[in-house]
């Protein structure tokens, strides 16, 4: 349905301004597009951008060349601020940063100098969910083991407050009554997982996408040490690692949790549905935005990209720019009381 709609949208745009297709092509011909990545080279956002760098050009009218520029700082907030405010607004600069920034804006975090609602989103790469896992030798085998006063306390490692390793346990604690004890301060996801492997802590929380692409060895094979306890959202993906694992929203309903609790779970889950997003600044002309959005769709359907993604064990679940925009709007219109409670929970 989404695809049909978008084809219709392109058609309408074409009818409305017959010359625009040509002008987009003229603009991009011989140009170089910069993808400004908010993190240092080597991570997921960077690798994703470099993968797109190879495939995207042939799908953009005028076949511009693309370079990736790393601009690390503030957990990619610097890149988001710069692309929004100071970079060229002509469609030659694409920002690639973390989806968590949208949540940061909703929570009124310091440093945000953009409005995610006005950002013109081009795509996102994964539709994933936050989750928590425990070591199999921790004595915790199901989420119920850590719920309530008689539940066991489970120490989990985290690499930063307000991020994907901290929000899930904090929100589960607040809504479901779990007893995750979060130890923050680990230097990045790799150090976070090493602490689980060397038994310094008994568990960790991250996104399921991270597990699939970089930490599958912790759940299968000779080095397997852990089991997933809970996944955010209302449904659980059909995957061997997730057999019998409850979805957080379903569990909340089962436990008779309040509407507020559910709203909190939903708001924090929404952001992971637009994992690894790309966007251009508000001032970029609409016809170029449309051309870029369609180019991203075609790139994500390109066999070349799929081959590379398969090799990397990346299970792509892209979203169109329109869908990303919708989810961002939804997230930003989360009721104030829910947001202020979330702020309390993750502080």
């Amino acid at each position: 349905m989404g695809k049909k709609l978008s084809v219709l949208a392109v058609g309408l745009a074409f009818l409305a301004s017959p010359a625009s297709g040509a002008s987009v092509e003229d603009f991009y011909k011989g140009k170089t597009i910069r993808i400004v990545v908010g993190f240092a080279p080597g991570g997921a956002t960077d690798t994703n951008a470099r993968l797109l760098q190879k495939v995207l050009p042939k799908h953009i009218p005028g076949s511009p060349s693309i370079v990736v520029e790393n601009k690390p700082g503030g957990g990619s907030m610097l890149a988001a601020n710069t692309v929004y405010n100071t970079e060229a607004q002509d469609g030659s600069v694409i920002g690639a940063f973390t989806q968590d920034l949208v949540l940061q804006q909703a929570l009124g975090a310091p440093g945000v100098r953009f409005d995610a609602a006005k950002y013109q989103w081009l795509s996102s790469t994964f539709d994933t969910a936050g989750m928590c896992a425990a070591r199999t030798d921790s004595g915790v085998t199901r989420i119920e083991d850590v719920i309530g006063d008689r539940g066991k306390e489970l120490v989990v490692s985290s690499f930063g407050k307000g991020g994907p390793s901290h929000i899930p346990p904090a929100v589960f604690n607040a809504t479901l009554g779990t007893r995750f004890k979060v130890v923050t301060g680990y230097e990045g996801g790799a150090a976070q997982r090493l602490a689980v492997k060397n038994k310094e802590v008994q568990g960790f929380c991250t996104t399921f996408q991270t597990i699939m692409s970089i930490a599958a060895d912790m759940f299968e094979g000779p080095g397997a040490c852990c089991k997933v306890l809970i996944v955010a959202g209302s449904e659980v993906e059909d995957h061997p690692f997730l057999k019998g694992v409850p979805a957080a929203e379903k569990l909340a309903e089962k436990l008779g949790k309040s509407k507020d609790d559910l709203a909190l779970l939903r708001a924090t889950h929404a952001v992971n549905r637009i994992n690894l997003p790309q966007a251009v600044a508000p001032g970029v002309p609409k016809d170029r935005v449309q051309a870029l959005r369609r180019a991203f769709e075609k790139a994500f359907a390109d066999p070349e990209l799929h081959k590379a993604a398969e090799k990397m064990k990346m299970d792509l679940s892209p979203k169109s720019g329109e869908e990303v925009s919708r989810i961002v709007q939804e997230l930003l219109s989360t009721p104030k009381p829910v947001l202020s409670r979330l702020k309390e929970v993750i502080q």
Binding site: A40, P41, G42, G43, D46, T47, R50, L51, Q53, K54, V68, E69, N70, K71, P72, G73, G74, G75, M77, L78, N81, P110, G111, R113, V155, G160, K161, G162, V183, T184, G185, Y186, E187, A190, A191, R193, L194, A195, K197, N198, E200, V201, S213, I214, A215, A216, D217, M218, G221, P222, G223, A308, K311, M312, K313
Partner: protein, 502 residues
């Protein structure tokens, strides 16, 4: 195992792997020599090319580059007093004074040979350690990392040269500067002045380039001569440097082992091991008077350590997915692109690839050292070029390198600010190495102190490996004093005996 060892070697010489390695080496050569512009930037540029390569080809291409940067980085450190790479900063301390005294050839010879020895030892230790490496790496937890950080602190005094008080204060300043940014526990802004660009702290590359390069350039400008204050000696110097490596083979070997050890520990980078090696070179010498003024042992130590760490650093990167530096982080990304998931499995299932890596490090270092030796005399002559001709090129490279740290003008401003700090320090006789050590150690100590206390409370102090490392740190701190006391006493006794006899 032996079969994999040999097939790993054969794979390196197969086409196109070998050619790709040569391309990588060529890139590494240039990147290593250019100050500020380091291996992470080069590897990021090389990354898109590997999508269509086979794993061994991709590894040859990237590792060929990475393996030689520490070697060629030493060249820049010696000739210009500007760090060619982050890991070759310690080479400046004695290497550059040697160049100033017309001993550039000897210093370069020593750096190259010790690099080669270090690389070979590091690579083969990696090969030999594969069966025991998993339990070894897993035995290092937050308290052990903290203890390693404290061991680094113990070396502050050794790195301070003649003025211990100034050294310790400079180290303290380094630790304070390391606190700039969001605190790792609560995300509270510290000394960021509202700049998001400072949230992740002061960029090490920008800081190092400023701290060392700017004073050198100003010095060169004021002097109005070439870098070498005296005439560069003839070819003999290079061979003397090579011979030095073997005269001090024990030191070279020990520093190679230090580099290997620090490479093996996940998340601890070569930025630390070069200083520990340098400190060890100073401490193990009976005559310390020449250190900081051009002692060849001060070149051999870090020269060996920064290369031996390259091989060892592959283990935490590929077997545990924990990279110790910006470059290995990108290398990890490259492995993912190649469909090689990090994990202990990789050590058993892709053994011949692992051995190819060992051989790649060895072969690319041999090639580099030979090429460098051929051109060494020409390189050493750079030190005779008039400063006025060198300064524009150096300035351009230095600020380009500073900017490239995070691709922002803020990084450039940090380079400039540290340049001023460096100038003042040099002028007032303050040692810079302790400040660098403080900058490197700050995050390591802070993170692990909090995590250790969170998880173990004070129990972390009683862990066996922690106790051993703290004992070593104590030895580093107090052994020189004890030795001195014993020496004084025995001198006193002898004096008394002599007096009695009279």
């Amino acid at each position: 195992m032996l079969e994999a060892f040999l097939s790993g070697l054969l794979d390196v010489f197969a086409y196109p792997t070998f050619v790709l390695m040569l391309l990588g080496i060529a890139a590494g050569f240039v990147v290593g020599i250019l100050p500020g512009i380091g291996s992470p930037g080069a590897m990021a540029i090389m990354l898109p090319f590997i999508f269509t390569m086979k794993p061994v080809e991709a590894v040859a291409f990237l590792l060929g580059m990475y393996a030689v940067t520490a070697t060629t980085g030493d060249i820049t450190s010696i000739l210009f007093g500007v760090p060619g790479e982050v890991v070759s900063t310690a080479t400046i301390i004695d290497g550059h004074p040697m160049a100033k005294h017309g001993e550039a050839g000897r210093a370069l010879g020593a750096a190259l040979m010790s690099s080669l020895v270090g690389a070979v030892i590091g690579a083969f230790t990696l090969a030999a350690a594969i069966p025991i490496v998993t339990p070894l790496v897993l035995s290092f937890k937050s308290p052990e990392f903290l203890a390693l950080g404290l061991l680094g602190i113990a070396f502050l005094a050794v790195l301070s040269g003649e003025s211990k008080l100034k050294g310790v204060l400079a180290g303290g300043m380094g630790l304070v500067l390391a606190m700039v940014g969001l605190d790792p526990q609560e995300n509270i802004e510290r000394y960021t002045f509202g700049l998001v660009g400072l949230w992740e702290g002061v960029g090490l590359v920008a800081a190092l380039v400023g701290l060392f390069a700017v004073p050198e350039i100003v010095d060169l400008w004021v002097k109005g001569t070439g870098i070498a204050e005296t005439q560069v000696g003839k070819l003999g110097g290079v061979w003397q440097g090579i011979k030095d490596t073997f005269i001090h083979l024990g030191l070279t070997f020990r520093c190679s082992m230090i580099g290997t050890f620090f490479g093996l520990v996940p998340g601890v980078s070569g930025a630390l091991s070069q200083w520990v090696s340098y400190g060890h070179a100073v401490q193990s010498a009976s005559d310390k008077s020449r250190f900081g003024k051009g002692d060849v042992r001060g070149v051999l130590g870090p020269g060996a350590a920064n290369n031996s760490g390259v091989g060892a650093a592959m283990i935490p990167t590929i077997a545990f997915g924990v990279p110790g530096s910006a470059t290995t982080a990108i290398l990890l990304g490259a492995f993912m692109i190649q469909g090689l998931q990090p994990g202990p499995k990789i050590l058993t299932e892709n053994l011949s690839l692992i051995f190819s890596m060992v051989w790649l490090i060895v072969v690319s270092n041999i090639i580099t050292v030979i090429v460098c030796l051929i051109f060494l005399n020409q390189l050493a002559k750079i030190t005779q070029i008039r400063g006025a001709l060198l300064i524009p090129a150096l300035l351009t490279l230095v600020f380009l390198g500073g900017y490239a740290d995070t691709n922002s003008y803020l990084a450039l401003a940090i380079t400039l600010a540290f340049g001023v700090v460096g100038l003042v320090m040099v002028h007032q006789g303050w040692p810079r190495p302790p400040m660098v050590l403080g900058l490197v150690l700050g995050p390591l100590i802070e993170r692990n102190l909090f995590i250790s206390y969170e998880v173990y409370r004070f129990g972390f102090l009683l862990r066996p490996i922690v106790l051993v490392i703290i004992a070593v740190a104590a030895a580093v701190l107090f052994l020189p004093n004890i030795q001195e006391m014993i020496a004084k006493r025995s001198a006193l006794k002898e004096g008394m005996v002599v007096a009695d006899e009279e």
